[in-house]
Symmetry: C2
DNA sequence: CTACACCCTATACTTCGGTATAGGGTCAAG
DNA sequence: CTTGACCCTATACCGAAGTATAGGGTGTAG
C-alpha cells in the first residue's frame, strides 16, 4: 500500500504534474485518494493505470481511444476481441494515412527532380517546368 | 476585368466565405478591391492566387509554407531554387512521417494477429497474449 | 415597403494534448 | 519563524485551419 505524491509519480513516469492533473480532469484516470491536507496519493493501481496509458499511447492511440479502452476495462469487459477490434481499426487508419502521404510524396518528388535538372541544365526558354506546374502559369503570372 | 464577389469566389473554389476572410486576415491574400458599398471584388489575379494556394495546399504544404512561397512570389524572387528547396524539405518531412507511421503499424499489426489466433484457438490458460502484452498484466490487473 | 439573399465586422469556439501562469496552501529543516 | 520545496485550483494559452455566431448593412424583386 505504498502511495506516491503527484511529483513522485510524475518523476517516475516522465510526466509533469500538470499533465497528471490534466489526465484526471479529462477522466482518463480517476481522482486518486487524498491526504488530510489535500495532497493526491497515487496507489499502485493508479500508477499501473498510468503506465498502461503511456504504453498504449506510445503505440499511437489517442487519449480518447485509450479512454474508451479503459471504460471497457473499468466495466470488466475488456476482452481480447474488444482490444483486437480497436487495434485493427487503428492499423487500418495508419494504412490509409501512410498511403495518402505516399501519394503526396510521389506527386511532390518529381517536381523536385524537375527543378534539379533545370538548375543544372536550364532550358532555352528560361523556365523551370516545375515552377510552371505549380503556379499554373509562368514565373510571374501578373497579366 | 470581370470581378466576383465573395460568395461567387467561394462557390467557384469550394471554400466558405469565412475561409476567404480568414485567408485575408492571416495575410495569405491581399485585401481585394471593394465596391462603393464595401463588398469585396475579386479580380482574375486574386482568383488565380487563390487557385494557386489551393493547388499547393492539396500538395500538403501548410498555409505558413504557402505564405512563405507567396512572399517570394510577391517580391518577384520566386526562383526555381527557392521552390525546389521548399519542396525537397517537404518531401523529407513526408518521408520521416511515413517511416514513423510504418514503424507504428508494424508494432501494432502483430498484436492484432495474436488476438486473432487466440480468438480462433484460445490458449489453455485462457489468456490472450496480446492483451497481456498491452495491459502489462492479466485480463484485469486489480491485485 | 418589405422580404430575402447576400455581404460586412468582430468575437468566440472547435480539436488535441497538453503547457504556462497566477495566487494560494502545506510541510520539514534550520 | 522563516525559507524553500512541494502541492493545490483555476484560468489562459499554444498551433493549425478554420467554423460559428451575433449583430448589422446592401441590393433587388414583388
Amino acid at each position: 500500500m505504498n502511495s506516491l505524491r503527484t511529483g513522485e509519480v510524475a518523476q517516475k513516469l516522465g510526466l509533469s504534474a500538470q499533465t497528471l492533473y490534466f489526465y484526471e480532469r479529462i477522466g482518463l484516470i480517476p481522482s486518486p485518494q487524498r491526504s488530510p491536507s489535500g495532497y493526491r496519493l497515487f496507489g499502485d493501481r493508479d500508477v499501473a493505470r498510468l503506465s498502461f496509458i503511456l504504453r498504449v499511447k506510445a503505440l499511437g492511440l489517442s487519449l480518447d481511444e485509450i479512454k474508451e479502452i479503459l471504460l471497457l476495462y473499468d466495466g470488466e469487459s475488456l476482452t481480447c476481441q474488444a482490444i483486437r477490434d480497436r487495434l485493427q481499426h487503428k492499423v487500418q487508419e495508419l494504412d490509409q494515412k501512410i498511403h495518402r502521404l505516399q501519394a503526396l510524396r510521389n506527386e511532390l518528388a518529381p517536381l523536385v527532380k524537375e527543378c534539379q535538372s533545370f538548375l543544372s541544365q536550364p532550358s532555352p526558354d528560361g523556365e523551370c517546368s516545375a515552377l510552371r506546374d505549380i503556379t499554373g502559369i509562368g514565373g510571374n503570372q501578373d497579366a
